[in-house]
Subunit: 190 residues, 2 copies
């Protein structure tokens, strides 16, 4: 960020009054430009013992598999966003069943919200951002070709819980450890 | 938004290729400026049968009561944000116990995430954004002087569940009805 989006003036990093961290403040109109994490909403579309995955036609992670999910838009709810992304990426209609995973990615300032869902019919097909859309049984999931660690952990939790038929909300963080990025259950929740 | 924050060029509203809605696109460098909903994270600090409320020293809703909550910052997790806001607004230390309410406010593109929490000690005091910080029993909650409908509904659910000693996650939306803004359980979740 270099210029004020309201007046075009140059921005300087400074700590505003009554604040505790540097913000981009306009040198001309003094507007403070706040930046905040983004929400990625999506779902786990389930048909019998299978889960619908999408092969990405876009960067990042072109050619890798993911659950339908994407950036929440202004003016919508998280559940609307999850349904919209599922329709856009997989032309799939689902019924949401509840929030299943809330994962923070502080290194990229993202928050994933993944919902459990029931696929309503088999008339799915690749949307413009997908190369392929396919139902996978647990044993066939392309674990080494998943696009994001959030997706890997969401799927892993889902299949664990599915065996017990007891689904519980996971709240955690994807953080860098000794062996790369991994999931930890939220350390602030006791 | 009128100017590109990267090059200072003027912005025009247009629908980018492979997109379905107007974005602010720079006339000079063609950068697309996405805007997304913001997360407000906070908690319900509980001490025995009392809940800690803060009287707001800032606009909006100066002088009205709220639970500690505020905009999530870049680089933090939702749980870290809830703890930080509780410390900033009430100088209060809590232990989070789980996500309790996820409320969408599509008309202002906000998502509230409220956690249940246990107040760890009674050494709380007003932070710079609070006029007063006080423990309230259910019967003394200033229902007519609460700052936001999200706070009113979160507290109402909390006291209902406290009686049953069974706390369940609420996922819903604050939307405009015939009598003003009210809470509805998320219509996308069946």
């Amino acid at each position: 960020m270099k210029y004020c989006d309201q007046c075009g003036g140059t921005l300087s990093l400074k700590i505003p009054d009554n604040d505790d961290r540097p913000r981009h403040v306009c040198d001309v109109c003094e507007l403070i430009h706040y930046r905040n994490p983004k929400i990625i909403a999506g779902c786990i579309p389930v048909w019998e013992n299978q889960v619908l995955l999408c092969k990405r036609a876009i960067e990042p992670r072109h050619g890798f598999w993911t659950l339908p999910a994407g950036f929440m838009e202004l003016g919508e709810t998280t559940t609307e966003a999850a349904l919209r992304e599922t329709l856009e990426e997989a032309n799939a209609r689902v019924e949401l069943q509840g929030l299943y995973a809330l994962m923070n990615l502080p290194h990229v300032s993202q928050v994933y919200m993944m919902f459990r869902s029931r696929l309503l019919d088999l008339n799915f097909s690749p949307g413009v951002e997908s190369l392929q859309v396919k139902l996978y049984k647990e044993e066939d999931i392309p674990w080494d070709d998943l696009a994001f660690s959030t997706i890997r952990h969401t799927l892993r939790f889902f299949f664990e819980d599915q065996q017990r038929e007891d689904y519980r909300l996971r709240v955690g963080d994807i953080v860098k450890g000794r062996d790369g990025f991994g999931y930890i259950s939220s350390p602030q929740i006791k």
